[in-house]
């Protein structure tokens, strides 16, 4: 879907940017509860940007990405995803956004292990009513882009770690998303696989897709036009503007 301008909730013209305003979220960490807080700041991710989030373990990177992806709900604050304000009761809206406009690469490797790779890659197209033949073709095309054309009919459990990660990337890309959210997409793969993943993400970014990712991979950080650092439950980043500014 092409990025464009959409009206915002308060009558303010807003682009397809993703915006978090005064967000607070408690989240579990080893040995207790962590707290992620942007209570006095507004974080805006421009459409078409490449944003990298870094920070130590437990700083809240995954929580922040999940809030951006609508997989988690903030305890307080307002959130716009691709220019659309999404409240806590917008389950259907969020589902539709994730299905049609978001691509998510998860921190942990999670698959429908009983289904072949092509069904895993195209699972978001099932409730959209896309026929099986078309789902298979679209999955195969995306897998080919990642060098996995031959694995379409295999089950995930017979693939290597690197192949599984590429399948996870293919799953995020199959719907041609406007926003890709990736949590450590190259942390558990070898250099060669990592390079393939970076290439795939860069191609989409070049085509206009917004990319937000948590990583410590220099190859992914180099491509960033914005770098957010999380520490102690907050943001330390010159790109974050104060609320209302």
């Amino acid at each position: 879907m092409a990025n464009g301008h959409r009206p915002a909730g308060d009558g303010v013209a807003m682009t397809d940017a993703t915006r978090l305003e005064a967000i607070t979220r408690r989240y579990p960490v080893a040995g207790g509860a962590g707290r992620f807080e942007l209570s006095s700041t507004t974080l805006e991710i421009e459409a078409g940007s490449w944003t990298v989030i870094t920070g130590p373990s437990g700083a809240g990177k995954t929580t922040l990405l999940q809030i951006i992806a609508g997989l988690d709900e903030p305890d307080a604050g307002r959130r716009w995803i691709l220019g659309r304000e999404v409240g806590p009761d917008a389950e259907s809206t969020l589902a539709l956004l994730r299905r049609e406009r978001l691509g998510i690469i998860y921190q942990h490797d999670v698959f429908l292990e009983h289904l072949p790779v092509w069904e895993n890659v195209s699972c978001r197209l099932v409730p959209a009513g896309v026929p099986a033949r078309e789902r298979r073709e679209r999955a195969r095309a995306t897998l080919t882009e990642l060098g996995l054309a031959g694995a379409a009919d295999a089950r995930p459990d017979v693939l290597s770690g690197g192949e599984r990660q590429r399948v996870a990337v293919a799953r995020a890309l199959v719907g041609n998303p406007d926003l890709i959210i990736a949590d450590e997409p190259t942390s558990q793969v070898d250099r060669e696989t990592g390079a393939l993943v970076v290439q795939a993400l860069r191609r989409r970014h070049t085509a206009g897709t917004t990319v937000v990712l948590a990583t410590h991979d220099p190859a992914l950080m180099d491509a960033a036009d914005r770098h957010l650092r999380l520490h102690a439950g907050g943001l330390a980043d010159p790109g974050v503007t104060g609320a209302g500014s």
Partner: protein, 381 residues
């Protein structure tokens, strides 16, 4: 949006096929309980229908003696008075009792020989030609190794030896399965009922049954009168009690099956929760997840009910209802070699489908709802 439903159906089928352990166990449990229920209902309905048919084919009025509020032998002198009543066409006296025969308990039915000829039951051999000959039911004949020409001794008040003229075929009414049908006077000798019979069967002209029954009751004598309608009520009540016991058993099974289904199908287990979380993260709505799980349940239900219907039919019709027939028909061996009356009606089959849907849907509703409405981020961490 038919394509969406078809996609979800296919996803549901994949999920069921991918979990042969959980869903297989749940399906087997459902099949076992539904097969028992369907076979039981079929036999219950068959026995009820056959019993009612027998009542329809029998007498219009049955009269016995009454002593201290219980049935008692009927003095023979009443038989002529019954025959004189307006509307009575025929009076058939009977002596019915039980006697040990070999290792079995036989039902002895003493009736005038011409009554046997009138009934014209299916016989292997021939009808009795004299009072020294009897007919034997198929089950009794098989148990005791009797065939036409065999000799049997009935030992009651007096011992009498008879020759088996014929075997009442296995396709005859089940009431004759363990019967020895002999001449009325011989039965009177065996049971020592010189001046009595156990009951009298009265055939009346059409429309006279109630009038005749009222007339006998107005004599104010120690007689007990049962019209065909009353006998039908007793038969139906008896079968209803057995059917009720079976329904109670099924309720117990149902109560146990619901939590068992919830546990065996893994709907609340961590791997399944992560799968559902992944689907939601990929853009499935709660309604999509619920529909997919409902379709999984429906598939299991239809497969279980379909197989149960087939197995119940094979159990009853193909194998002769071993073991279960004895629940409805007393004195039957575990493996009866006679035709067991059974009726497979559409309503119990539909109820079986409904029963399995209730089990699967109720068993999964809580875990499914909890899984489907959870924040996907939590399960994916």
């Amino acid at each position: 949006m038919l394509a969406r439903h078809l996609n979800l159906l296919r996803a549901a089928a994949d999920n069921v096929a991918a979990r042969p352990g959980g869903y297989g166990l749940a399906t087997l449990g459902l099949i076992a309980s539904l097969t028992l229920l369907l076979a039981g209902v079929a036999i219950s309905e068959g026995v009820r229908a056959e019993a009612l048919a027998s009542v329809d084919a029998g007498a219009d009025i049955y009269v016995t003696g009454d002593a201290f509020g219980r049935e008692a032998p009927l003095p023979r002198h009443w038989l002529d008075r019954f025959a004189e009543l307006n509307g009575v066409r025929r009076v058939v006296p009977r002596i019915i009792g039980r006697l040990p025969l070999g290792d079995e308990i036989a039902v002895i039915i003493g009736v005038p020989r011409e009554a046997v000829a009138n009934a014209n039951p299916p016989i292997v051999g021939r009808a009795p030609a004299s009072e020294a000959e009897v007919l034997v039911g198929r089950v009794l004949a098989d148990e005791l190794g009797l065939r036409p020409g065999s000799r049997i001794a009935l030992e009651g008040a007096t011992s009498r030896v008879f020759t088996v003229a014929g075997i009442i075929d296995g396709t005859a009414a089940l009431w004759s399965a363990k019967a020895v049908t002999c001449d009325l006077e011989e039965a009177a000798i065996v049971f020592g009922l010189r001046d009595h019979v156990t009951d009298a069967c009265l055939d009346t002209r059409p429309g006279y049954a109630d009038e005749v029954a009222d007339a006998i009751e107005q004599w104010d004598e120690p007689l007990r009168v049962q019209t065909r309608t009353l006998v039908k009520t007793y038969v139906t009540r008896g079968m209803t009690i057995r059917g009720g016991l079976l329904a109670l058993l099924c309720l117990v099974v149902l109560a146990g099956a619901i939590p068992a289904f919830a546990v065996t199908t893994y709907l609340g287990h961590v791997p399944r929760r992560r799968e559902v979380a992944l689907l939601k993260a990929e853009g499935w709505r709660t309604a999509d997840v619920l529909e997919m799980v409902a379709l999984e349940n429906a598939l299991v239900s239809f497969v279980a009910a379909g197989l149960a219907i087939t197995l119940a039919w094979l159990w009853v019709r193909g194998l002769g209802a071993p073991i279960i027939a004895g629940f409805f028909l007393t004195d039957l061996p575990a493996f009866p070699e006679m035709r067991i009356p059974a009726r497979f009606l559409p309503v119990p089959a539909l109820l079986a489908i409904a029963f399995s849907l209730i089990v699967t849907m109720t068993g999964s509703i809580y875990t499914t709802w909890r899984t489907a409405t959870a924040r996907p981020g939590t399960a994916l961490r």
